[in-house]
């Protein structure tokens, strides 16, 4: 082993290497007697006791005994009988995955009912968010509503005011489509400076699911809606806040807006609006009204609480941009990302998510030197309009500090801005719609930090 193996890039030691040859012999002897716990404990103790770097360190070394005890000692699951079918009627993730939780950001809100929880993007794969990890935003607490009692009403500029049961909505021709949902306030804490440590808290108010339901236009046509003069639709929830939002008729007539009951093959989760929610692809999450009870067709926007008090973007001149609904092109590297520690120097797959409320992602470029030089990343299929897209790019870490960024461009040609570009137009007090390029600093000790660069 030469000096390269012990310098700054070497941050993670395999615990085997902290056992002396004698120790290993003892462990193996115990292991052969069937005491596998002894092995586990010995490894844990070795890891905990490690204080100084050692010369001999490799992610997956060959121990002096000539083989990995995890291979040489057949484990319980290889030599025993496993569990039977339907032990869990509705399966759960492995017990080893318990660290993946949606989490609140401490101090962000005073109550849990008018609050948010963030999805653990740092540990997710592909483009689909597991329904149980979908981010949450509630305005007055969530409910688990009896679908047999839920009703959906259409009124306003229609020939006939109508009501539907869930049975009736689910009898209609259904469509399924993937769509991302992002809170307009995602990344809000970072407008002025770095404020939170991980991608869960910087970007975790986004999720992507396959939604199933009925195009709202189908239901509006059934009610004989005035699609010419009715330029706006009010969507209203059935929860305590009965939250309302104004939806553009143009998105409804295009067939994109869905009255959805399905999510990733099952019904919506209660936290996501069971049994019925609006799906408005490309538009910020607050418009995806949950527990949807009513839509009203009108000829003017409604200036609801979340259109005239919140969800307005303050500009440097003191003006608020009102009805800012679109989620513009944006991306983020999810690993390596803030709060993580790279195990060692060498090869890594940089991976992340890109999305645009205006269409498909055309390309994503990745920089590992803070935006000076860029390489084009691979876009994984499927690349769908107004859904999350997954990108990957090869990277060999040399153990030196690196600043990782991603830059997405959508098929309208709009490219994700830098913080300088965004702030030069919108200042730092907008709260909403921060789509700037994110920077992660990989330090020599392997620890990754959330940073902003000048």
């Amino acid at each position: 082993m030469n000096a390269d193996n012990i310098n700054s890039g070497r941050v993670q030691k395999a615990p085997e290497n902290f056992l002396t040859p004698t120790g290993i012999k003892e462990v193996f002897a115990e292991g052969k007697k069937g005491r596998r716990d002894f092995i586990r404990n010995a490894f844990a103790a070795a890891a905990a006791g490690a204080a100084a770097p050692m010369a001999m360190a490799q992610g997956n070394p060959v121990p002096v005994e000539g083989g990995d005890p995890n291979i040489l000692n057949l484990p319980e699951h290889t030599v025993g009988l496993g569990q039977g079918v339907a032990a869990e009627g509705y399966g759960k993730p492995s017990k080893f995955e318990a660290n993946l939780q949606r989490r609140q950001s401490p101090g962000l809100t005073q109550t849990t009912q008018a609050s948010v929880s963030f999805a653990p993007l740092q540990s997710l794969f592909g483009i689909v968010t597991p329904s149980g990890l979908h981010f949450e935003r509630h305005h007055q607490g969530w409910w688990d509503i009896d679908p047999s009692k839920h009703r959906f009403m259409i009124n306003g500029m229609v020939k006939k005011n109508m009501v539907f049961t869930m049975d009736e909505i689910m009898r209609l021709p259904s469509v399924s489509r993937f769509a991302f949902i992002e809170c307009g306030a995602n990344t809000a804490t970072e407008w002025g400076n770095v404020a939170v440590p991980t991608v869960q808290y910087t970007h975790g108010m986004i999720s992507c699911s396959e939604f199933t339901g009925v195009p709202l236009i189908t239901l509006l046509q059934m009610a004989g809606a005035d699609l010419k003069n009715g330029k706006f639709v009010l969507a209203e929830g059935g929860d305590g806040s009965s939250m309302t939002r104004t939806i553009p008729m143009s998105l409804i007539t295009s067939g994109e807006v869905i009255v959805a009951y399905g999510q990733n093959g099952e019904m919506l989760r209660p936290e996501n609006g069971y049994p019925l929610r609006l799906v408005v692809p490309g538009v910020q999450g607050v418009s995806w009204v949950k527990y949807l009870r009513r839509v009203e067709v009108g000829d003017k926007p409604y200036a609801a609480k979340d259109e005239a008090i919140h969800y307005m973007d303050l500009q440097p001149d003191g003006t608020h941009r009102q009805y800012t609904n679109l989620q513009e092109v944006k991306s983020v590297v999810t690993t390596p990302s803030g709060g993580q520690v790279l195990l060692d120097k060498g090869f890594y797959n940089i991976t992340g998510l890109a999305w645009s409320g205006k269409g498909k992602i055309k390309r994503v470029d990745v920089s590992t030197d803070g935006g000076r030089n860029w390489r084009q990343a691979r876009l994984e299929t499927p690349v769908l309009s107004k859904a999350l897209s997954r990108f990957n790019i090869d990277w060999v870490w040399d153990g030196k500090p690196a600043i990782i960024q991603s830059r997405a461009q959508d098929d309208t040609g709009h490219a994700q801005p830098t913080y300088q570009q965004l702030r030069s137009v919108r200042g730092t007090r907008s709260i909403y719609h921060n789509n700037a390029i994110q920077s992660w600093l990989v330090q020599e000790n392997g620890e990754v930090k959330n940073v902003q660069v000048s």
Binding site: M153, A223, P301, R321, G357
Partner: protein
């Protein structure tokens, strides 16, 4: 294809019968007409042109009474509190009322933005108070109370005088005095249709440069060391297998070259503390957590604070839940709670044993 044929046939038959073909015939048997009383019960929205506003009125004086009884706990006596929600009142001036622009919104150094600084439309206040307030009992205010509370808020912001009676007749005049009524713009590209400004060109632009795009990057902003563990131990927030681990933020950041990620075997989840989980579920169910945090004060004391003070006193805690109280933890009274006895007992036991999470 056959559905299409059937639909055509249906339309042809309807036309033959001289019936006006409504689209609903495409899906026979689905949906029905809403009755007027059903629409009246649910169609409660009020637009900026006051379409939907029920006739009625309410005075500032009456509003003050309602405010003190039902609003002040969360919003403060003068709507200034930020204990539970963002402040409602403050930051506006007589000059703003004249101009329709709130001058403080231009100041980057002004601490906070109240509702009155932002909201351009009285309709928005009326609508949201009516549909969503009070916080734990939405839609329980009478029409008069909604007018009155709105009037009281406007009075606290000096938009209407002390003796004002707000009504459907004069509400448009009041809207014309809102301090930020001219502070809105729809001249942006972030409405996804042509219904508003129709602007399509985004306000930001970046170029797809690939080489030597910027000078060498310098870190301009990062989290200070004291915030290292502010979001909890990040080691426990990352998967325990894969190319990375979470940093152990309970310890200071290691110097380069030191062991930073423990390679202990992947730990299985801690067994759930079922008693605590059940109690917390009840607290949520009965909205206790609207006013009490498990480990922090909100309106009332945190359950941990009560647990410390009243350790072991299940019956005492139970009596307080049922009867309400004031003065032990502060001067904001807690009203008597009407949750089922068994639930209250379970909660009281959990608190008396330490209110663990």
């Amino acid at each position: 294809m056959s559905r299409f044929r059937n639909a055509l046939l249906t339309l042809a038959l309807l036309a033959a019968a001289g019936v006006v073909a409504a689209q609903s015939n495409t899906f026979p048997g689905i949906g029905r007409a809403a009755t007027p009383s059903e629409v009246a019960k649910w169609d409660i929205d009020v637009r900026p042109d006051f379409k939907g506003l029920p006739a009625g009125s309410g005075s500032v004086a009456k509003g003050q009474d309602v405010w003190e009884a039902k609003c002040a706990q969360c919003h403060g006596v003068f709507g200034e509190s930020n204990e539970v929600f963002s402040p409602l009142i403050g930051g506006t001036t007589a000059e703003d009322i004249k101009n329709g622009r709130v001058a403080n919104l231009k100041r980057a150094d002004y601490p906070g933005r109240t509702t009155m600084m932002k909201v351009p439309t009285v309709s928005t206040l009326w609508d949201y108070i009516n549909r969503a307030m009070p916080w734990t009992n939405p839609k329980t205010l009478s029409t008069e109370e909604v007018y009155a509370v709105t009037a009281f808020m406007l009075n606290m912001a000096n938009i209407v005088p002390d003796n004002y009676v707000l009504s459907d007749k004069n509400i448009a005049e009041v809207q014309a005095r809102m301090p930020n009524r001219n502070g809105m713009s729809t001249a942006h590209a972030m409405w996804p249709g042509n219904e508003l400004s129709g602007i399509k060109k985004p306000d930001t632009a970046n170029k797809i440069c690939m080489k030597d795009c910027t000078p060498e990057a310098k870190v301009a902003s990062f989290l200070p060391d004291f915030a290292r563990n502010a979001h909890g131990n990040l080691q426990e927030q990352n998967r325990n297998v894969g190319p990375q681990r979470g940093a152990d933020t309970t310890k200071p950041e290691p110097k380069a070259g030191m062991l930073v990620a423990a390679a202990a075997p992947v730990a299985a989840a801690k067994p759930e503390i079922n008693e605590a989980k059940a109690a917390i579920a009840l607290l949520n169910k009965h909205s206790c957590t609207a006013c009490h945090g498990v480990d922090k004060k909100i309106v009332g004391p945190g359950f941990n604070e009560i647990a410390k003070k009243q350790a072991g006193k299940t019956d005492y805690i139970l009596s307080k839940v049922k009867a309400g109280g004031v003065g032990v933890y502060g001067q904001i009274p807690m009203p008597p709670q009407s949750l089922p006895g068994a639930d209250a007992k379970q909660i009281a036991e959990w608190i008396s044993k330490g209110a663990s999470k």
